[in-house]
């Protein structure tokens, strides 16, 4: 893949590497996705004009094994008031996420300037110096989209950046159970 090829596409943001599979089967804990999101913070601000709640100060989100930590968390709702999206940010730092998708595998840890959780789609989108690791495997890019159920990862890099998505997949030792 060469850089001119991307420029020819005239797409501002484009895909460098897509759909790397950590596992071949979905072995996540789907029951976690049915659990309520528990949020802890120092304070919460409700903007009535925007109908938006923002949690501030040492924010922690728990949903089963899923944990998100950040300085701020914005809750976006549907027009009927239901939870649509949770956006975690840490100004001058990185928001953090971890999950245990499969009890027999290492936990997934991830960082990004913004962590966008879309519960209805079971997606976590990490943006800005995004990094995700599971055991010895790691993904680095501008944006990583992680499916909490299937554990699919889509990695993208900024069109303006020369940097590339970096993927390190460590082969399992011979004889190890996959």
């Amino acid at each position: 893949m060469t850089k001119p090829a991307y420029q020819a596409s005239k797409v501002t943001s484009f895909l460098l590497l897509a759909l790397a599979f950590i596992v071949t089967e979905a072995k996540a804990l789907p029951e976690d996705r049915e659990l309520p999101l528990q949020v802890k913070a120092q304070s919460m601000q409700w903007n009535n004009q925007q109908q938006q709640a923002t949690y501030q100060g040492d924010v922690e989100v728990h949903q089963g094994e899923l944990v998100i930590e950040a300085a701020n968390l914005k809750i976006l709702r549907t027009t009927t008031g239901e939870l649509k999206q949770a956006v975690a940010t840490t100004p001058k730092g990185q928001a953090y996420m971890r999950d245990l998708p499969d009890p027999i595998k290492p936990e997934v840890e991830a960082w990004g300037e913004v962590i966008d959780y879309l519960p209805s789609q079971d997606l976590v989108i990490l943006t800005g110096k995004a990094r995700l690791i599971q055991g010895a495997d790691s993904f680095t890019g501008h944006q990583l989209t992680y499916n909490l159920i299937t554990q699919d990862i889509q990695a993208e890099q900024k069109s303006s950046s020369d940097a590339r998505v970096e993927v390190i997949l460590t082969p399992a030792p011979k004889g190890a159970d996959k």
């Binding site: 304070s43 919460m44 009535n48 549907t78 949770a86």
Partner: protein, 198 residues
Amino acid sequence: MSRFPSLRKLGALLALIALGILVVGIQDLSLPPPHASLPEQYGEPDYYVEAARLTRFNAEGKRLQTLNSVQATHYPEKDLTLFESPLMHHYSEQGQVWRVVAKRAENLAKKDIYLEEEVIITPLNPDSTYLPEFFTDRLWVDTQTNIAHTKDPVSFISPSGKTTGKGLQLNMDTGLAEILQEVQGSYLPSPAIQGTEP
């Protein structure tokens, strides 16, 4: 001389009886009798108003606040007015409308309004299909700054979840509300996206 009253006298008597019946008939007996005694914990009240409605206007003459109450009792010694089952509406210039209800309220010297017991604060958004609500037990409304505040435990309930914490600061003009400490929230994930919002 006849032993019986004359027809004129009898007619006058019947007319008097009819008038009496008419007077009783036109009286509104549905009104309760006035209170024989009022609570005197703040001295002797000088008046009370049933189904009271107070309206405050801003400098331009626009409606700013209304306070409805089942009964308002005034105590002149402290210039204190007590409200039973108050229902307050605040109308800001920015278009914010807030509704506050409680079991009781006090207005001391026509300044701050203090509401207590089962205080429910609701932003009324004409564009919204749901009404989130703040719950607390005591609330002070500064009628100069239009800021409502409490240090008590607060709950915020919306269709998808509940947030609890300690202390509330609410600017009724800008529509910004903040739960100040020890915040914990719980949200149910929605099964499907039903729409978007700004």
